[in-house]
């Protein structure tokens, strides 16, 4: 008689510790991207790669998808995969809208955001 325990996801503790440490290191790495102020394509590549590595290990090991049968894996990963289509469409549409606003509505292409330091300094000047 098989007990319900054997049906569950029981794995050696070691793999959880390894993934845990890995998640810490990758999180530290993605924070380092901001701390050392990497910009442009380098920033996007690093942040997205680190994000996918973290998400992959959480789903595969912590949520046990790696050991689940394909029927369950496809049920949980398939529908969200279709969302990539939505994201792609919205990105194309967003790009078009932004271009139209710059080209036909005279919005300023070179506007620069205020930093908190500048904002607080301007408040003090008013007083």
């Amino acid at each position: 008689m098989a007990s319900s325990d054997t049906a569950g996801q029981q794995h050696p503790l070691g793999i959880y510790y390894q993934v845990w440490i890995l998640l810490f290191l990758v999180s530290a790495a993605s924070y380092a991207v901001d701390y050392f102020d990497a910009q442009g394509a380098l920033r996007w590549t690093l942040v997205i790669v680190f994000m996918l590595v973290k998400a992959g290990f959480i789903i595969a090991i912590f949520m046990h998808a790696f050991w689940e049968r394909l029927a369950l894996c496809l049920t949980i990963l398939g529908p969200p995969g279709v969302l990539l289509l939505l994201i792609g469409f919205m990105a194309v549409e967003g790009d078009y809208t932004e271009g139209a606003r710059f080209d036909y509505m005279g919005h300023d292409r070179d506007a620069v955001a205020l930093t908190p330091a500048e904002y607080h300094a301007s408040l003090e000047e008013e007083h």
Binding site: Y16, S30, M63, R69, A71, L72, P80, M90, A113
Partner: protein, 226 residues
Amino acid sequence: MSEAAATSIAPNDGVTGLVDDWTADKQAYHVPWGKAMMWIFLVSDTFIFTCFLTGYLNVRMTTTQPWPPQSEIFALSFGGAPIPLILIAIMTFVLITSSGTMALAVNYGYRRDKFKTIVFICLTALFGATFVGMQAFEWTKLIVDEGVRPWGNPFGAPQFGSVFFMVTGFHGLHVSAGVIYLLWVARRIWAGYYDKKGFEIVEIAGLYWHFVDLVWVFIFAFFYLL
């Protein structure tokens, strides 16, 4: 009988298993029904968060006003010069730590070590509550000190505030609900409710908790870092 048949199935046998599971004219998922239902719920929750993040992508792309500098807005000073994004980094580490303790709780649950399971579930809930506390601090700082509102802020695109409050608010709500859920599960384990039923419940609660951590991975990358 069906229970024994379910457990004798190999844990993972690829495409052959997929075809078997869907054509055998019986249950398709060889997991406890509660776990299958939690997965279905998490898939629907994925759609909600993806809609939020896709909406964010769209307003961020279409707004012609400059996006406020997150790195400096979420900086924190410990006496000296402000350290960029440090609060969010600490929150990320707190949530990852809680995911680790949750994984250990699931493991000890299946080993039927009730005491350690309860300890690690409570630790997870404690880290979760810490996260929500830090988020409350972050919201207060942004609302009171920086004047960020859902309809505008002093730094740049007004959409920054609406996305921030909606996305982190919804995520924080999930963490808060998770803390309550975990404590409720811990209390039922303590009361011996699962002694005969088995401890799948810890794995099911764990799935929810890891999912909350997973959502944060994406929020951290897209909202705070990019």
